[in-house]
């Protein structure tokens, strides 16, 4: 007899908006891996502990080519049909994944980010702080900083005109919102595909040399081409949405978190050199990729005592794993002095976030400068009234009204 499956927890306690769904605690304490029904009705395995989650991400018997599990009820697809655009190396395994990822890695090393991007980030953050100082005392931090800065940075990196930001941001939000219908989400995806297609045509026409998109065009055209046209467009779409929406969500949520943790904020203001560990702790504590990441078994295998069958979907709930008391002491406490080797906020394994050093640079610049410039910054509404994005693939705040 098989036990009735539990549902993957996706609903947060509205009184604890910074914590993952409480149900995860029980699942994680019961067993490391459990059979579940995912939000879209498909079934598979859910891993809630840190060590076992790490194993999943680093096991070559589990493939990154996976169907979506986090779409609304009834929307179950094969991996191939999961996105209207080519998901590129996100869904590839080694050695193919490495070949494609390495077309981009040079731009994303700590050194490259420090030398080529950091001066730009410093400048735009200062400009946005100036604009805040010149504007009304109470303002929406999302519109004033958390959204424009990541948009500007991805535009600079890719070679995308910043005046198009409203279009690509709206399309991204539509595409990533699991509270929206498939039609609406696909509309967002197609907007991005058409946008990148037109931009690539424009760059070809003008022989542009600015940014990653122009570089990738060079790897699509000509004798020794390594990318197909469809892959080129897919990569452009991927970088544009993955590069800005994640970081924007993280910046807004991090600010809300520090505004509600007074001791920790004071500690950071007195010791700005702690910004490195602060950002890592926020990435762990908040784990904005809120529905987890899937992998598919390429063969029968055993994992933490569970018998996984070839073709089974295994999802790692990173938000649960990052609160695993086996891996972190007092996991539900935000501690900017926490000593930890690593966390799973950027995933883990060969697919670990390509843009992580860019995201870190933005967060490490904005947070200390913000509280230095506006030491009295405070929430303009009670925490309970901050509109949270419960349905977005990336958890965040929709709006964050603050007073300087």
């Amino acid at each position: 007899m098989t036990e009735p499956l539990v549902d993957q927890p996706v609903t947060r306690d509205p009184h604890h908006p910074l914590d993952p769904p409480t149900e995860y605690t029980r699942l994680r304490e019961d067993q490391p891996i459990v059979e579940v029904r995912f939000p879209n009705g498909s079934t598979g395995w859910l891993v809630t502990r840190f060590e076992e989650g790490s194993q999943v991400f680093n096991d070559p018997r589990l493939s990154a080519k996976r169907p979506r599990h986090d779409t609304p009820e009834g929307e179950v697809d094969e991996a191939d049909e999961a996105a209207p655009f080519d998901a590129g190396f996100v869904m590839m395994d080694e050695p193919e994944h490495g070949v494609h990822r390495r077309l981009l890695t040079a731009r994303f090393t700590p050194k490259a980010v420090q030398n080529k991007l950091q001066p730009y980030i410093d400048r735009i953050v200062d400009e946005h702080l100036d604009a805040i100082a010149a504007g009304p005392e109470t303002f929406d931090f999302v519109q004033a900083m958390a959204l424009p800065v990541p948009c500007l940075v991805i535009c600079e990196l890719l070679g995308v005109p910043y005046e198009d930001r409203d279009g690509f941001h709206e399309a991204t939000v539509d595409m990533m919102d699991m509270g929206k219908s498939r039609e609406e989400r696909d509309k967002g995806a197609h907007w991005l595909i058409n946008y990148i297609t037109d931009l690539v045509a424009e760059k070809r026409r003008t022989h542009a040399t600015d940014g990653i998109l122009a570089e990738l065009i060079g790897k699509t055209d000509g004798e020794d081409a390594v990318l197909s046209e469809r892959q080129l467009i897919g990569l452009g779409v991927l970088l544009l949405f993955a590069g800005h929406d994640t970081t924007a969500a993280m910046m807004g949520l991090s600010t809300l978190t520090l505004l509600t943790h007074h001791e920790q904020r004071k500690e950071l203001m007195e010791h700005p050199e702690k910004i490195g560990t602060t950002v890592e702790e926020l990435l762990r504590y908040l784990t904005i990729v809120q529905f987890g990441l899937g992998r598919v078994a390429k063969e029968d295998l055993e994992l933490a005592g569970a018998r996984i069958k070839k073709g089974d979907l295994v999802v790692v709930a990173m938000n649960a794993a990052n609160r695993d008391p086996r891996a972190f002491q007092d996991p539900d406490t935000l501690d900017i002095d926490r000593k930890m080797a690593r966390h799973m906020g950027f995933g883990y394994g060969v697919h670990a976030c390509l843009g992580q050093n860019v995201a870190r640079a933005e967060l490490k610049t904005v947070l200390p400068k913000l509280f230095q410039r506006f030491p009295d910054l405070r929430l303009a509404t009670p925490l309970e009234e901050v509109p949270m994005d419960f349905t977005g693939t990336n958890y965040g705040v929709r709006k964050l009204m603050v007073t300087r």
Partner: protein, 64 residues
């Protein structure tokens, strides 16, 4: 201490360089890890252990 690396699996995240800059670097052209010293002095042990632990692809092996 003896360090070995599975270069094929390195995903170029550069976390090793931040943890132990005297021991690891990355190639400019594709971000793949470069081992500056495969037998670093004992005072690097802590940094190297940190690099091995933080590496998302788990490709750094350390033998004492």
């Amino acid at each position: 201490m003896q360090i070995s690396i599975d270069f094929d699996k390195c995903c170029g995240a550069g976390q090793c360089v931040l943890a132990a800059p005297d021991v690891f670097d990355q190639r400019d052209e594709d971000g793949i890890v470069v081992l500056l010293d495969d037998n670093p002095p004992a005072d690097q042990a802590e940094n190297v252990a940190q690099a091995a632990a933080v590496c998302p692809a788990a490709v750094i092996q350390v033998k004492q």
